[in-house]
Subunit: 340 residues, 2 copies
C-alpha cells in the first residue's frame, strides 16, 4: 500500500505504460533508455524495473520478455501519470455536428453518443440511458385501429418511450383522447422517477376507465425502471492486437452481446464522474477494461456512457473523448431547451 515510489520510478512507469499502450509489446530496459530516458544506462533502469515489479506494478512473463504494466500500474497511470491529450478541433467539431444532425431527427440522443464515442476512440462503446431524472414533457395515448393504442411519453430531454396498450373492445377514439388529457393533467411536469407518487391520484381520475387504467399505469411505471443499453462498434475493439486469438474474440463478443451484463457493469459506478474498471475488478471480465462517465445537465444526471476494450487501452484518449462528449452534450441539450 503505502510503499513509497520515487519520482524516477514514476517517470519510468509512465514510460512503460505509454510505450506498452502504443506498441502492445512488453517493454524492455533498452527501449526505455533509447527512446525516452537517455540520461541513464539500461542497467540502472533494469534495477528500477525489478523494484517496480517487486512492488506489484509490473509483470514479467518470461525472464527474457520485457515487462508489461499490472492493473495497479494502470490505476496509478490514470490517476497521476497520464497526460491528457486535447482533442483536435476537427474532432470536437465532429462531436458537435453529430449531435446537431441527430437532434433534428432524434429518436434518442443515446444512439448518437455511442456512435460518436466509438468512432473517435476506436473501441466498443456503450451508452446507458434511463437512470435520468428527466421530467415528463408530454404523455398520451395514440389509438392505432385494431383495439390497441400506443402509449407515448416524451421527456424534456426529448427522449421518449413507447409501448402498446390493448384497448377494451369498443372503446371509442374520443374516450382515448379524453383519457390522454387526464394523463397529461396528472403527469406532465412530473419527474420520471417520481411518477409513482401520482399513482393514487391517477387511479381515481381514471376510475371511468378502470379496465385499462391499471395497464396504462403499469406501463408508465415500467418506463421508470427501464434502462436502455445501446452499443456501438461492437467489433471495433477487436481490431486491436490483443484479440489475436479466436477464444478471446468469442469471449469479448459474448460479453458485448449480453445487454443485461453490460447494463450492470455500466450502472455500477454512476456516482463518479469518470470511473475505470480494469482487469477483473468490479465484475469486468479478465483482460477487459471499462471506462465510464456519467453526464448531467443542470445537476440532473442524464446518462452513463462508456468504453469497453482491452486492458491495454489508450486511457488518455478515451478519457479526453468522454469528457469532450460530455461537454458538448451538455451544451447541445441546454441550447435546445433554452431556445424554447
Amino acid at each position: 500500500m503505502g510503499a513509497e515510489i520515487s519520482e524516477r520510478k514514476k517517470k519510468i512507469l509512465q514510460i512503460v505504460v505509454d510505450e506498452y499502450i502504443e506498441t502492445a509489446t512488453p517493454v524492455s530496459s533498452k527501449a526505455i533508455t533509447q527512446k525516452h530516458l537517455t540520461e541513464v544506462s539500461s542497467a540502472t533502469v533494469r534495477s528500477e524495473l525489478a523494484a517496480l515489479e517487486d512492488q506489484g506494478y509490473l509483470i514479467q512473463f518470461h525472464t527474457s520478455g520485457g515487462r508489461i504494466p499490472s492493473p495497479k500500474a494502470y490505476r496509478l497511470y490514470i490517476d497521476e501519470l497520464m497526460e491528457r491529450s486535447e482533442l483536435s478541433s476537427a474532432e470536437t467539431e465532429f462531436i458537435r455536428s453529430s449531435f446537431e444532425r441527430r437532434a433534428a431527427s432524434a429518436e434518442s440522443i443515446v444512439r448518437s453518443v455511442a456512435d460518436v464515442i466509438s468512432e473517435l476512440t476506436d473501441y466498443t462503446s456503450v451508452a446507458l440511458s434511463g437512470q435520468s431524472e428527466e421530467t415528463i414533457g408530454n404523455i398520451g395515448l395514440f389509438p392505432c385501429g385494431d383495439s390497441r393504442a400506443l402509449l407515448l411519453i416524451v421527456t424534456d430531454l426529448r427522449i421518449f418511450k413507447d409501448s402498446f396498450i390493448a384497448l377494451p373492445e369498443g372503446m371509442r377514439d374520443e374516450e382515448v383522447e379524453k383519457m390522454s388529457r387526464t394523463l397529461q393533467n396528472i403527469f406532465v411536469g412530473k419527474r420520471m422517477d417520481r411518477a409513482r407518487e401520482a399513482e393514487e391520484e391517477a387511479m381515481q381520475a381514471l376510475a371511468a376507465y378502470r379496465q385499462i387504467c391499471r395497464e396504462v399505469l403499469d406501463a408508465i411505471f415500467a418506463y421508470t425502471d427501464r434502462r436502455e443499453v445501446v452499443l456501438s462498434g461492437g467489433s471495433k475493439s477487436l481490431l486491436h492486437p490483443e484479440y489475436d486469438d479466436v477464444g478471446k474474440i468469442r469471449t469479448f463478443l459474448s460479453l458485448v452481446e449480453d445487454e443485461e451484463e453490460i447494463g450492470k457493469l455500466l450502472s455500477d459506478g454512476t456516482s463518479v464522474k469518470i470511473g475505470v474498471k480494469i482487469g477483473s475488478d468490479g465484475g469486468v471480465p479478465e483482460d477487459c477494461s471499462i471506462v465510464t462517465a456519467s453526464y448531467s445537465v443542470d445537476g440532473r444526471q442524464i446518462g452513463t456512457y462508456g468504453v469497453l476494450g482491452p486492458v491495454r487501452m489508450d486511457y488518455a484518449k478515451v478519457v479526453s473523448v468522454l469528457e469532450s462528449v460530455g461537454d458538448v452534450l451538455e451544451k447541445v441539450i441546454k441550447n435546445s431547451n433554452g431556445g424554447k
Copy 2:
C-alpha cells in the same frame, strides 16, 4: 451445363454434402462407404468422386485431403438433394410463442423475427422491412412542449417515431390536434408506399398550416422510403468452425456491421420465395452464404428475412426454419388483423 449425372453420383454427392455440413472436414471415399454406402467399395466411390470433381461439383485441396463440395454442388443440393427436416413441435411452439409475446408489446415484429431465426438456426440472421406494402394504421403529431411535435406513424407492422417537427411560434395544442385529425383523414388506411399519391390532397387540406405543411409531408415521405435492417446473433455464426482465424472473423464482422451492405444483399432477391446466394455470387463475400426468404400476407409482401453464415451452412435446417417462420408469421398477422 447439360452434363448428365447418374443417380448414384447424386446419391454420393448428397452424402458428401451432408457429411461435410455435419463434420466441417473434407470427406473421404472411405468415410462414405463406411457410414452410408456400404454396398460398394471405396475404390468405386473414388472413381465417382474423381468424375464429380471433373464436372465441377467437388473440390480437392491436396491430393490426400478428401473433397469438399463446390458452390455448384451446394446449389444442386439445395434444389434437388437435401431432405428438408421438419421442425420439432417444440420449435414451432417456440416460434409461435415468441411472436405472440411480442405482438402484445410489439415495437416491431421485425426484431422478433430476426431473433427467432437466429435462435433456431444458430446463424446470424437479418431482417429487412420496408419494401413492404404496409398500410397506415394511424398518423399524428404529438406535441412535446417546446415548440416541437413528434410525427408518429403506426402501420400494421411497425412504428415510425423519430421525426421532430418544429412548430411555428405560438401554435396551440388544439391546432396541432386538428392538424393530426386532418392527416388521419387523409392517410389512415393508405398504403405506406402510396402515401405520395395523396400529396396534392394533403397540401390543400393543410393549407391553413402552410408554414409547417411542407415539413410534415416531407417527413412522411421520408418514412416511406425507409428500410430498416435488423440483425440478430451477429456473433452466432462465429461459433462455427470455419471461423477459426482472426482475419475471417474480422471480415465477417465488418460485413455484419455494415447495415447498408446487408440491406443491399437482402433486397436483391425479393422476387423469389426462398433464395440462396453462395460463395461470391450476387455480391456475397467469399466464404459466405446468404439464404433469404420474402414473406407475404394476402399477397402483400411484408418483408425479407435471411440467414447469413458460412458457405458450409445447414441449408436443410435453415430453409425449414425460414419456411416455418413464414407460416407462423402469416397466421399471427392475419389473426391480429382479423380480430379487429
